[in-house]
Protein backbone atom coordinates (compact mmCIF):
# COMPACT_ATOMS: atom_id res chain seq x y z
CA UNK A 1 0.00 0.00 0.00
CA UNK A 2 3.02 2.31 0.33
CA UNK A 3 6.18 2.36 -1.74
CA UNK A 4 9.09 4.80 -1.34
CA UNK A 5 11.42 4.89 -4.30
CA UNK A 6 14.66 6.66 -5.14
CA UNK A 7 14.14 6.00 -8.85
CA UNK A 8 11.62 7.73 -11.13
CA UNK A 9 8.39 5.73 -11.35
CA UNK A 10 5.71 5.44 -14.00
CA UNK A 11 2.33 6.74 -12.73
CA UNK A 12 0.41 5.30 -15.69
CA UNK A 13 1.79 1.81 -15.21
CA UNK A 14 0.99 2.00 -11.48
CA UNK A 15 -2.55 3.20 -12.25
CA UNK A 16 -3.19 0.37 -14.70
CA UNK A 17 -1.93 -2.21 -12.19
CA UNK A 18 -4.18 -0.68 -9.54
CA UNK A 19 -7.23 -0.79 -11.88
CA UNK A 20 -6.69 -4.41 -12.89
CA UNK A 21 -9.00 -7.17 -11.69
CA UNK A 22 -11.47 -5.18 -9.65
CA UNK A 23 -14.85 -6.79 -10.27
CA UNK A 24 -16.49 -4.89 -7.40
CA UNK A 25 -14.86 -1.49 -7.89
CA UNK A 26 -16.66 1.29 -9.69
CA UNK A 27 -14.46 4.25 -8.83
CA UNK A 28 -10.74 4.95 -8.79
CA UNK A 29 -9.52 8.43 -7.88
CA UNK A 30 -5.88 9.33 -8.17
CA UNK A 31 -3.53 12.22 -7.73
CA UNK A 32 -0.09 12.85 -9.23
CA UNK A 33 2.15 15.56 -7.80
CA UNK A 34 4.75 16.76 -10.27
CA UNK A 35 8.00 18.61 -9.59
CA UNK A 36 7.56 22.05 -11.11
CA UNK A 37 10.13 23.56 -13.43
CA UNK A 38 13.04 25.49 -11.97
CA UNK A 39 15.51 27.91 -13.41
CA UNK A 40 18.39 26.25 -11.53
CA UNK A 41 20.43 23.40 -12.96
CA UNK A 42 20.16 20.01 -11.31
CA UNK A 43 17.19 18.58 -9.43
CA UNK A 44 14.09 20.70 -8.78
CA UNK A 45 13.75 19.33 -5.28
CA UNK A 46 14.90 16.71 -2.86
CA UNK A 47 12.92 14.63 -0.39
CA UNK A 48 14.27 13.12 2.77
CA UNK A 49 12.64 10.25 4.64
CA UNK A 50 13.29 8.49 7.96
CA UNK A 51 13.72 4.95 6.61
CA UNK A 52 11.39 2.48 8.27
CA UNK A 53 9.56 5.08 10.34
CA UNK A 54 8.28 6.95 7.28
CA UNK A 55 6.86 3.84 5.62
CA UNK A 56 5.18 2.67 8.82
CA UNK A 57 3.62 6.06 9.56
CA UNK A 58 2.23 6.40 6.03
CA UNK A 59 1.06 2.78 6.02
CA UNK A 60 -0.82 3.42 9.26
CA UNK A 61 -2.44 6.51 7.84
CA UNK A 62 -3.46 4.73 4.64
CA UNK A 63 -5.11 2.03 6.76
CA UNK A 64 -7.03 4.76 8.62
CA UNK A 65 -8.22 6.21 5.30
CA UNK A 66 -9.32 2.76 4.10
CA UNK A 67 -11.43 2.35 7.22
CA UNK A 68 -12.81 5.88 7.34
CA UNK A 69 -13.91 5.96 3.69
CA UNK A 70 -14.69 2.23 3.39
CA UNK A 71 -12.21 1.87 0.56
CA UNK A 72 -11.58 -1.37 -1.26
CA UNK A 73 -7.93 -0.41 -1.66
CA UNK A 74 -5.50 2.49 -1.49
CA UNK A 75 -1.91 2.90 -2.59
CA UNK A 76 0.77 5.56 -2.19
CA UNK A 77 3.96 5.76 -4.24
CA UNK A 78 6.38 8.47 -3.10
CA UNK A 79 9.76 9.49 -4.50
CA UNK A 80 12.61 10.25 -2.14
CA UNK A 81 16.04 11.70 -2.91
CA UNK A 82 16.69 14.21 -5.71
CA UNK A 83 13.84 14.73 -8.20
CA UNK A 84 14.06 16.40 -11.60
CA UNK A 85 11.62 19.00 -12.93
CA UNK A 86 8.54 17.41 -14.47
CA UNK A 87 9.01 14.10 -12.67
CA UNK A 88 6.27 12.59 -10.51
CA UNK A 89 6.87 13.11 -6.78
CA UNK A 90 3.84 11.30 -5.48
CA UNK A 91 0.98 9.12 -6.68
CA UNK A 92 -2.06 8.40 -4.51
CA UNK A 93 -4.76 6.00 -5.72
CA UNK A 94 -8.00 5.03 -3.99
CA UNK A 95 -10.56 2.40 -5.01
CA UNK A 96 -14.14 2.44 -3.80
CA UNK A 97 -17.56 1.29 -4.84
CA UNK A 98 -18.69 4.88 -5.41
CA UNK A 99 -16.87 7.97 -6.60
CA UNK A 100 -17.52 10.26 -3.62
CA UNK A 101 -15.58 8.01 -1.22
CA UNK A 102 -12.73 7.57 -3.71
CA UNK A 103 -12.37 11.33 -4.26
CA UNK A 104 -12.57 12.25 -0.58
CA UNK A 105 -10.08 9.60 0.49
CA UNK A 106 -7.59 10.69 -2.18
CA UNK A 107 -7.93 14.32 -1.09
CA UNK A 108 -7.57 13.28 2.59
CA UNK A 109 -4.41 11.28 1.90
CA UNK A 110 -2.83 14.16 -0.01
CA UNK A 111 -3.61 16.61 2.81
CA UNK A 112 -1.92 14.17 5.19
CA UNK A 113 1.15 13.68 3.01
CA UNK A 114 1.57 17.45 2.60
CA UNK A 115 1.80 18.23 6.29
CA UNK A 116 1.84 15.12 8.49
CA UNK A 117 3.87 12.39 6.79
CA UNK A 118 7.53 12.11 7.92
CA UNK A 119 9.04 13.55 4.77
CA UNK A 120 11.11 16.69 4.38
CA UNK A 121 11.22 18.56 1.11
CA UNK A 122 13.87 20.98 -0.09
CA UNK A 123 13.23 23.01 -3.23
CA UNK A 124 16.13 24.26 -5.32
CA UNK A 125 15.85 27.66 -6.93
CA UNK A 126 18.29 30.20 -8.35
CA UNK A 127 19.31 31.06 -4.75
CA UNK A 128 19.97 27.47 -3.68
CA UNK A 129 17.98 25.09 -1.50
CA UNK A 130 15.05 26.01 0.73
CA UNK A 131 13.30 23.62 3.13
CA UNK A 132 9.56 23.64 2.58
CA UNK A 133 7.21 23.72 5.55
CA UNK A 134 3.45 23.23 5.39
CA UNK A 135 1.74 26.46 4.33
CA UNK A 136 -1.12 28.06 6.24
CA UNK A 137 -3.29 26.64 3.47
CA UNK A 138 -1.99 23.11 4.06
CA UNK A 139 -2.74 23.40 7.77
CA UNK A 140 -6.20 24.84 7.08
CA UNK A 141 -6.85 21.93 4.70
CA UNK A 142 -6.18 19.48 7.54
CA UNK A 143 -8.93 20.96 9.68
CA UNK A 144 -11.48 19.87 7.08
CA UNK A 145 -11.10 16.28 8.32
CA UNK A 146 -11.13 16.90 12.07
Amino acid sequence: MIRLTREPFDPGEALNAFCAQRAATGAIASFVGLARGTSAKGPALELEAYPGFTEREIEGFVAKAVERFELQDAEVVHRIGPIGAGEAIVLVMTAARHRRAAFEACDYLMDYLKSRAPLWKREFGPDGGRWVEPTEGDLADLTRWA
Partner: protein, 81 residues
Protein backbone atom coordinates in the same frame (compact mmCIF):
# COMPACT_ATOMS: atom_id res chain seq x y z
CA UNK B 1 24.21 5.30 24.69
CA UNK B 2 21.89 6.16 21.80
CA UNK B 3 21.97 7.23 18.20
CA UNK B 4 20.59 10.74 17.63
CA UNK B 5 19.21 11.61 14.19
CA UNK B 6 18.37 15.03 12.78
CA UNK B 7 16.16 15.51 9.73
CA UNK B 8 15.54 18.24 7.17
CA UNK B 9 16.38 21.77 8.25
CA UNK B 10 17.67 20.60 11.66
CA UNK B 11 20.54 18.65 10.07
CA UNK B 12 21.47 21.67 7.94
CA UNK B 13 21.52 23.96 10.97
CA UNK B 14 23.58 21.53 13.06
CA UNK B 15 25.97 20.49 10.32
CA UNK B 16 25.46 16.81 11.24
CA UNK B 17 22.72 14.26 10.65
CA UNK B 18 23.64 11.47 13.03
CA UNK B 19 25.62 11.24 16.26
CA UNK B 20 26.20 8.82 19.13
CA UNK B 21 25.38 10.36 22.51
CA UNK B 22 26.84 8.68 25.61
CA UNK B 23 25.77 8.90 28.31
CA UNK B 24 22.22 9.68 27.26
CA UNK B 25 20.38 12.21 29.49
CA UNK B 26 17.33 10.93 31.38
CA UNK B 27 14.78 12.92 29.41
CA UNK B 28 14.14 14.36 25.99
CA UNK B 29 14.38 17.85 27.50
CA UNK B 30 17.79 17.00 28.86
CA UNK B 31 18.94 15.72 25.47
CA UNK B 32 17.71 18.90 23.75
CA UNK B 33 19.66 20.99 26.24
CA UNK B 34 22.79 18.90 25.74
CA UNK B 35 22.67 19.12 21.95
CA UNK B 36 22.07 22.88 22.03
CA UNK B 37 24.64 23.69 24.70
CA UNK B 38 27.44 24.61 22.27
CA UNK B 39 25.22 25.38 19.29
CA UNK B 40 22.75 28.22 19.93
CA UNK B 41 21.30 27.96 16.40
CA UNK B 42 20.53 24.28 16.88
CA UNK B 43 19.09 25.00 20.34
CA UNK B 44 16.78 27.55 18.74
CA UNK B 45 15.85 25.22 15.88
CA UNK B 46 15.07 22.32 18.25
CA UNK B 47 12.77 24.60 20.23
CA UNK B 48 11.02 25.77 17.05
CA UNK B 49 7.33 25.38 16.34
CA UNK B 50 6.32 21.94 15.10
CA UNK B 51 9.55 20.09 15.91
CA UNK B 52 8.69 16.56 17.01
CA UNK B 53 10.72 13.70 18.43
CA UNK B 54 10.56 9.95 17.91
CA UNK B 55 12.02 7.47 20.39
CA UNK B 56 12.94 4.15 18.81
CA UNK B 57 10.79 5.17 15.86
CA UNK B 58 7.67 6.02 17.85
CA UNK B 59 6.43 9.62 18.22
CA UNK B 60 7.04 10.94 21.75
CA UNK B 61 6.01 13.89 23.88
CA UNK B 62 8.68 16.37 24.88
CA UNK B 63 8.65 15.12 28.51
CA UNK B 64 9.27 11.48 27.58
CA UNK B 65 11.86 9.48 29.48
CA UNK B 66 14.86 8.17 27.56
CA UNK B 67 15.42 5.09 29.72
CA UNK B 68 16.39 2.17 27.49
CA UNK B 69 16.02 4.20 24.29
CA UNK B 70 18.47 3.33 21.46
CA UNK B 71 17.47 5.87 18.80
CA UNK B 72 16.20 9.42 19.12
CA UNK B 73 15.08 11.40 16.07
CA UNK B 74 14.32 15.13 15.94
CA UNK B 75 12.01 16.07 13.09
CA UNK B 76 11.08 19.56 11.87
CA UNK B 77 7.62 20.21 10.36
CA UNK B 78 6.90 17.58 7.76
CA UNK B 79 6.11 18.24 4.12
CA UNK B 80 5.73 15.53 1.54
CA UNK B 81 3.56 15.26 -1.57
Amino acid sequence: MARVLLFGRLADVAGWREREVDPLPDSLCGLRDLLGRNDPLLAQALAGRGVRAALDQALASSEASLAGVREVAFMPPMSGG
